[in-house]
Amino acid sequence: MVEAAQNLDQDEVEKEEINEFLTFMLHGEEYGVDILRVQEIKGWDAVTAVPNMPEYVRGVINLRGTIVPVIDMRRRFDLEVLEYSETTVVIVLRILTEGHADRTMSIVVDGVSDVYQVEASNLKASPDFGGDIDTEFVKGIATVDKKMIVLLNIDHMLNSKELSVADMDAI
């Protein structure tokens, strides 16, 4: 038991030490996702539309034989819709779902920005925005070089009821 507790502590310590985030730009703001969840980053390419899905689900792409859904973050956050450009990128993420195998999903963003190491002390819990962004989707807010970065809880965001495996009562 003592050993287990120590292990736990160690894990916690490690977690606190290594907090690396990949950040991307969306409507002039910088958002971050846990870098360990990023599978790859690729350019925007044509997708196959899937019928009867919310508009922010652009469709599905073929990622080396796997069918991966593409979610437009601007549409997801009800931001102004922009034409996709050369800098538009698709970030492929590994999503954890309770009681379900890992899923691979991808998000469309304006562009990737940087990779930051964020110390735990610089991580703040998210305030209640009362805005378009559901606070549940936000893991916290980090300050890096006096910039504010919104860290997203992608598991929550990409398992919302429209996209979840279990919940069939979509829309």
Partner: protein, 697 residues
């Protein structure tokens, strides 16, 4: 040293279930009266491993129970007990009980103590009841010595020559423990032989070089001695010889015993090999659909695959060589074409090889039937012989798992309704024993399973009157014989006058047909009165590949399963009708077929909203037809089905997706789902473009 053995528990369960399957099939193969020692040996070994394993894992209930079975089997093996029908029946039941015990233990459920106790006492009764009437009343334990050498009455002790194989220690068996165990049986003298011991510097501490001669004094049962060696009997040379007061007799008997024992070992080795063979050829454990997703693959298939990949690499390097040519001329072009042809061939072969990994012989689905027929024919007091052929025919594991229940249903049905009672058969000049044949074979991309009986055949008048009375057809419908036969698959249909627990509740054949359709297959029946019936099931070889028709609606490409397409046609505007202004129907010969506009139910752009400019693809599902309005037919091809659910979710109207030659994703239509969507859209009757509202719950 303590090892956490719980990690092996699952393997134990898996092997035990395999063992039970073996016991079951071998018990059924056992001829009452003249027992084949080989068969009994196989059953015994299965029971023995289960007992040993369960003891190791501390599952004492299982161990105790198996012990009684084992004792019984051991007596049969030694020729000490006749193999009676009663014994076989009780053993079969015990197999069932054991299976349910193991299942409940595995799922951490409570054991059904009552049934266990009942069969346990039945076994005991069988064991004791007959043991007392037995001539050899010299107690069960002495029996096997009789079989070794004629008549040994006065055993004064045993001489055991125990020579472990050099690598026996690697299996975790310790000779010292065995000898200690022997010591508990009686006073022993041990003599160690060190003649095989190499020079000190050559000694490998992990190998065993010693052998022993052990003498046990006193009246010890040979069985008890053997039990000490049971874990190592395949890993050593072992001779157990009885010592007699008169030592002159001992010599010849010793020889005899050695020969005998060697023979036993030889047999055993052969059996083991056979078992290994069986295991490799059978590839996977007992069907457990949900949890065990592992698959055992024959090594040949893997080798094939490796060869194929090797070929592919060669072709690839050949192609890249052509690509590196500086002057690309006609010769190079020709070589490029050759290379591409080769590549295509290899790719197809590779695909087939990979598919074959998922293939299992249909004997996995068939193996339960001997038992089923055995039990049911006893219950129904019918005489039935089951013939099976084509058991080696392979089909996809997933299909196999799902075809089991429909097959059981059809076989039960043939048993119950098809085959007549023996008296009636005799009256009709038939053999009193009815025959049910199960046959499987491949026929062009499909697997065909036939269930054939030589029973009474379908009674057309009765089917028809029943169908009319239950409102499935009208009295004035003129039906052909095949159509009448087909009625038995209609929902809510049963001709059985008496509802038995075998069949007759009328929730059977329609479910069978639905299940088979869900697998993309068909089932039909042919029957001749008084001669018998044949049920023919056709299934696709695999669920992973589908023959599809590519269609285009606007900028989207969809795939319609070829199996559901009846015909595709150009629209004749005269045949177009509209019902209440919203629903369009098309008159195709005598049918009015509703037109489904994909752009409506999927909310996509199409070239035209004028039906008469498009094409219609008429598809059928469960007897209902719809015509899907498309912009263009693109061609047919085999597609590999990919799940949408893995990363997204199930979407009504779609059964999956696939990747086309150009790397883009195309969605595969699920005709049943499209029909549901269409009905929902019609029901909601708000035909606006806000498609989002029509999504099916």
């Amino acid at each position: 040293m303590s090892i956490d053995i719980s990690q092996f528990l699952n393997t134990f369960y898996e092997e035990s279930f395999e063992g039970l399957d073996i016991m079951e099939s071998e018990l059924l193969a056992l001829n009452v009266g003249e027992a084949d020692t080989e068969v009994i040996n196989t059953i015994f070994r299965a029971a023995h491993s289960i007992k040993g394993g369960s003891g190791t894992f501390g599952l004492n209930a299982v161990a105790d129970y198996t012990h009684v079975m084992e004792t019984l089997l051991d007596e049969m093996r030694a020729g000490q007990r006749e193999v009676t029908q009663l014994a076989v029946d009780i053993l079969l039941r015990s197999v069932d009980v054991l299976r349910s015990m193991l299942l409940s233990l595995k799922d951490n459920e409570d054991l059904d103590h009552e049934t266990i106790a009942t069969t346990h006492s039945e076994l005991e009764k069988l064991l004791n009841g007959e043991a007392t009437t037995d001539q050899a009343n010299s107690s069960v334990t002495n029996i096997s010595t009789d079989s070794v050498s004629g008549k040994i009455e006065d055993v004064s002790g045993w001489t055991i020559v125990f020579k472990p194989n050099v690598d026996m220690l690697q299996t975790g068996n310790d000779p010292v423990r065995i000898i200690r165990e022997l010591e508990t049986l009686g006073s022993i003298t041990v003599e160690a032989h060190t003649d095989q011991l190499p020079e000190f510097e050559l000694i490998d501490p992990e190998q065993s070089y010693l052998s022993w001669t052990i003498k046990i004094a006193g009246n010890v049962a040979e069985e008890d001695i053997k039990e000490c060696f049971e874990w190592v009997e395949d890993e050593c040379e072992l001779t157990i010889v009885a010592n007699h007061k008169n030592s002159t007799v001992a010599a010849p008997i010793l020889e005899e015993a050695v020969v005998h024992d060697e023979k036993i070992q030889d047999d055993r080795r052969q059996d083991d090999r056979r078992q290994v063979e069986r295991r490799t050829s059978s590839k996977t454990a007992a069907k457990k659909p949900a949890e065990s997703s592992s698959i055992r693959v024959n090594i040949d298939k893997v080798d094939d695959l490796i060869n194929m990949v090797g070929e592919l690499v060669i072709t690839q390097s050949m192609l890249s060589q052509i690509g590196g040519v500086e002057n690309f001329d006609a010769v190079a072009l020709e070589r490029l074409n050759d290379g591409l042809v080769q590549l295509e061939q290899h790719t197809r072969e590779l695909q087939e090889s990979v598919m074959r990994i998922r293939m299992m012989p249909i004997s996995f689905a068939f193996q339960r039937f001997p038992r089923l027929v055995h039990d049911l024919s006893t219950q129904l007091e019918k005489q039935i012989e089951l013939k099976m052929s084509g058991e080696a025919t392979e089909l996809d594991k997933t299909v196999m798992e799902k075809i089991g229940d429909p097959l059981v249903h059809l076989v039960r049905n043939s048993l119950d309704h098809g085959i007549e009672m023996p008296e009636i058969r005799a009256e009709n000049g038939k053999d009193a024993t009815g025959t049910i044949e199960l046959n499987a074979f491949h026929q062009g991309g499909n697997i065909v399973i036939e269930i054939k009986d030589d029973g009474a055949g379908l009674n057309h008048e009765r089917i028809l009157s029943k169908a009319i009375s239950s409102g499935i057809v009208k009295e004035d419908d003129n039906l052909t014989d095949d159509q009448i036969n087909d009625l038995i698959f209609a929902p809510g249909f049963s001709t059985a006058d008496v509802v038995t627990d075998v069949s007759g509740r009328g929730v059977g054949m329609d479910v069978v047909r639905r299940n088979i359709r869900a697998l993309g297959g068909t089932v039909e029946v042919k029957s001749e009165k008084g001669v018998g019936s044949v049920f023919t099931i056709r299934l696709p070889l695999t669920l992973a590949i589908l023959d599809g028709q590519l269609i285009r609606v606007g900028s989207e490409t969809y795939i319609v399963p070829l199996i559901s397409i009846i015909e595709s046609l150009q629209v004749n505007p005269e045949m177009l009708n509209s019902v209440t202004g919203t629903a369009d129907v098309y008159k195709l010969r005598d049918d009015y077929i509703p037109i489904v506009k994909l752009y409506d139910i999927f909310g996509i752009e199409s070239d035209t909203t004028d039906i008469s400019e498009g094409l219609l693809v008429v598809v059928e599902n469960e007897g209902r037809k719809i015509a899907i309005c498309v912009d263009e037919l693109l061609g047919q091809q085999q597609v590999v089905i990919k799940s949408l659910e893995t990363n997204l979710k199930q979407i009504s109207g779609l059964s999956g997706a696939t990747i086309l030659g150009n790397g883009t994703v195309a969605l595969i239509l699920d005709i049943n789902g499209v029909m549901t969507l269409y009905h929902d859209v019609m029901k909601s009757s708000v035909l606006q473009d806000k498609y989002g509202k029509y999504i099916a719950a």
